[in-house]
Point group: C2
Chain length 159, copies 2
């Protein structure tokens, strides 16, 4: 098992909190890379998987591009293109929205639901790596992440 220091070959850190910041970035990169490789087996990217999950969540109700974007982990402007890709694979359908013609009604297809079904079991086994940590500790862990996100964003904007 490799510590942060071993992984980035750095022996000294200025403080425990600086170490924590680096550790989050490194850990997320690792998670992301692992996810990338994992989802490739299903010919999906992590972002595409995220979109399908969101659509399964609202199913059978449709979802607009904007709602997808708001629910995504990565809030960039690629939801439209991600939907393109998934539509080409037949995993979702896109049709104009009657009520507001600016919007698009996006629905997950049977094939989309099926692929999520295939992914569920192996993916859950990956997510369960944290079972060895107690819920109480994880709750605090999540709290700290929430703090970091909010304060860091503010700090970066302030500078």
């Amino acid at each position: 098992m490799l510590s942060l220091g071993e992984e980035i070959k750095q022996t000294k850190f200025k403080s425990e909190h600086q170490k924590a910041m680096l550790n989050i970035l490194l850990t997320a990169n690792t998670l992301y890379a692992s996810n990338n490789r994992f989802f490739k087996k299903f010919d999906l990217s992590p972002e595409q998987y995220n979109v399908l999950r969101i659509l399964r969540g609202t199913h059978p109700k449709p979802c607009s591009v904007l709602s997808i974007q708001e629910r995504m982990l990565d809030k960039m402007s690629n939801a439209s293109r991600l939907v393109d890709k998934l539509e080409a694979k037949g995993l979702l359908t896109r049709k104009p929205c009657k009520e507001d013609r600016r919007q698009v009604d996006i629905n997950i297809t049977k094939a989309g639901l099926q692929i999520l079904d295939d992914i569920d079991v192996p993916f859950e086994s990956m997510e369960s790596v944290l079972e060895c940590v107690s819920d109480k500790e994880l709750a605090r862990f999540n709290e700290i992440l929430d703090i970091i996100r909010n304060k860091y964003r503010d700090a970066a904007n302030a500078v």
Copy 2:
């Protein structure tokens, strides 16, 4: 202050550990995006900053491309091109290594050290957002991140 659930508009989570996994990814995305915007003021990307930090660490000794890559948070094969960019900006120099002519001796320049100096103060103020959490808690926080990284990587490879 926004919780994970508020940020991705999801009210229910399957478990505290699934929530933690999502939270790490979201938090890292936020940090990365904030860093992106922050470093743009200095005409640098977060990765370029990372390279300069590594070079300041070994300074005045030179560093090879491979050592840079090993120390980077993102272990991809772009170190060479990052070095290109930084050389073009005059922030580092590149010269063939005498002992092993496959390698390149990379050194940070005065201008490179200067820009790091300019960045140090505002960046440290950003990193200090975690001062409100005790060192003891942060130590455990770092431990949990180490566990996640190692176990997740293994789990993804096993599937």
